[in-house]
Symmetry: C2
Subunit: 340 residues, 2 copies
């Protein structure tokens, strides 16, 4: 389903578009292309966050193993996650679908799942469009969120010395995808339940994102959609920094380790390069490390993990006791992704 790549194709195209389209000085656009969402001034205090994403069957999902209800949930979740990554709350959604032939039989289940995730996060479907395609089934979603202007977290705020945190296990979604590709989803959820859920039905971290943003402790934040190696490189590129991540500190689930054994795959590939975990990745000054842990404990949130630090020199490096290897942008590239 997906091919890892060191190419920066999607990044290159987005940068190219971003360079063509500039903003006038008096623009209400606080942030355009180049973060998880565009940030548009709403009033004196608050902003709208806007994000759009397209999923194509055979590239981004496979109905062979993806139940339509869960696909509907995931289609909403991956966009809501972009709002969460800036500390906002999702408010409105637009859904645009293109399918060949007539409306598929599973459309009702898909819509029920899409509705379920929107309702779970207080988001309203306000617009839509259905068109006929030539061959592909594709789904485009736009989500409009809201946040207080002074609490929004951008990719660009990381500072040398910051600690790098993630909100949970890495690589579970990639492992779940590999299990589905191996046909193991046909045997029921069983021992791989957590991995299947990570791939089929990921949860966006809206409450955590909002709490982190409103705490004022976070310098930079992104959600992990393209894999740690790529998404941390996005933070570094936008912040004019680099980062070191410590192999021993990467949070790896027991199920992932077992699945890697079963499928004879290297654990690190999934953890470092696997996309679609939708964990939050963020940086905090070491002076506020304790405040951060206290905040997380106080609010009874799931654990967070410190996995590295921000450095001055560019590039994302993976460190163990013997090696220091550059891994920048080695995650999943939605543009060069292809059927496997």
């Amino acid at each position: 389903m997906k091919k890892k790549s060191t190419k920066k194709s999607e990044l290159a195209i987005i940068k190219h578009i971003s360079n063509i389209f500039g903003f006038p000085a008096d623009s209400p656009v606080i942030k355009g292309i180049g973060d998880d969402c565009a940030v548009l001034r709403k009033d004196d205090k608050s902003c709208f966050l806007v994000t759009t994403d397209t999923l194509v069957e055979g590239v981004h999902f496979d109905l062979g193993w993806h139940p339509p209800f869960l696909l509907g949930r995931k289609t909403g979740a991956v966009n809501i996650s972009d709002i969460a990554a800036m500390g906002g709350h999702p408010r409105f959604a637009l859904l645009s679908m293109a399918f060949p032939g007539s409306a598929p039989a599973w459309l009702d289940d898909f819509l029920a799942g899409f509705y379920a995730i929107l309702q779970q996060y207080g988001t309203l479907l306000v617009g839509g469009d259905t068109v006929k395609s030539s061959n592909d089934l594709s789904i485009s979603v736009t989500i409009i969120g809201e946040a207080a202007e002074n609490s929004i977290c951008y990719r660009s705020g990381a500072v040398k010395g910051d600690l790098v945190f993630v909100s949970g296990f890495l690589g579970d979604a990639a492992a779940g995808l590999a299990l589905c590709q191996s046909g193991l989803s046909n045997q029921g959820l069983g021992q791989w339940q957590q991995l299947f859920k990570a791939h089929l039905d990921p949860e966006p971290h809206v409450q955590l994102g909002k709490m982190l943003a409103e705490s004022g402790l976070v310098h930079a934040m992104i959600d992990i959609s393209d894999g740690l190696a790529t998404d941390l490189a996005h933070i570094c590129a936008e912040s004019g920094t680099g980062a070191e991540i410590f192999k021993k500190d990467l949070p790896v689930s027991e199920q992932l380790t077992a699945a890697a054994g079963k499928l004879e795959k290297p654990v690190l590939d999934w953890v470092l390069k696997g996309g679609e975990d939708y964990q939050l990745l963020f940086t905090v000054s070491p002076d506020h490390e304790e405040d951060l842990y206290n905040l997380v404990i106080e609010k009874n949130k799931p654990g967070i993990f410190c996995i590295g630090k921000i450095i001055e020199d560019p590039g994302v490096f993976l460190l163990d006791s013997l090696n220091r290897e550059e891994v920048s942008f080695q995650g999943y590239d939605h543009f060069t992704a292809a059927k496997s």
Copy 2:
């Protein structure tokens, strides 16, 4: 490129989605699915208008004759037209593209055209997404516009006795498409320039839409994207009325008449059922007919044409001296459209 159909597939799907997703009483959603745009409260006085649309190669456009620069313009224009149809001003755009293989060579020209139309109407590109598709090239655009809440024109305001107006010639875009399909675009623009432009490079009527909305004279408005027979039926369905249109009053260009002769096609099919003219279609009380003409003359706008009237009984009827024929929803259906 397109197939006329009496099926209500797209309408049926949108209504289905609309029925599933309701709004709570305290919602900031003033209008959800079922008009040209969703209307979201921004502040005490103004609203955001949001619209999204997907175009698929081979269904909605053909690069065999559509120059990429003009396709870029049109991709923006058809969405901006939805904002114009409610009397708003387009502010922000998001562009999401899916293509098989690597980025196409014509992407720069396409983006230049998209930029040109956005700039022409003061619209800023704030977000985007590029992904790989399996087979199809598809383009999704979301436009966010703005309007004063008390001036927004909906489809639902038509009243029995209202006069029905259009902002210009009907069917030119369908005639232009037919000429392109016949291979005549290869012979240069020549005598069909106006028809080719209507198909390849339509202009959204932003200023006229805003002026009409702010005048307070208009009861209901829509842009003609699916053909007069379908778009007037949308106004009637949302307003709980019907309409009669007078064949002799339909504005038909000389070039269209000539093209119909050349291609041996019936004029009326293009005029009544041809989509993508992006003219504004609106209703005004007969008491204000003179005010409307005075307004249009005063502002030095292109002509408008009175083509019919709103009636109590449901259905859209075409009248000539001999017949009264129902034509509701006989226009272009983006969902059932297929390659020809």
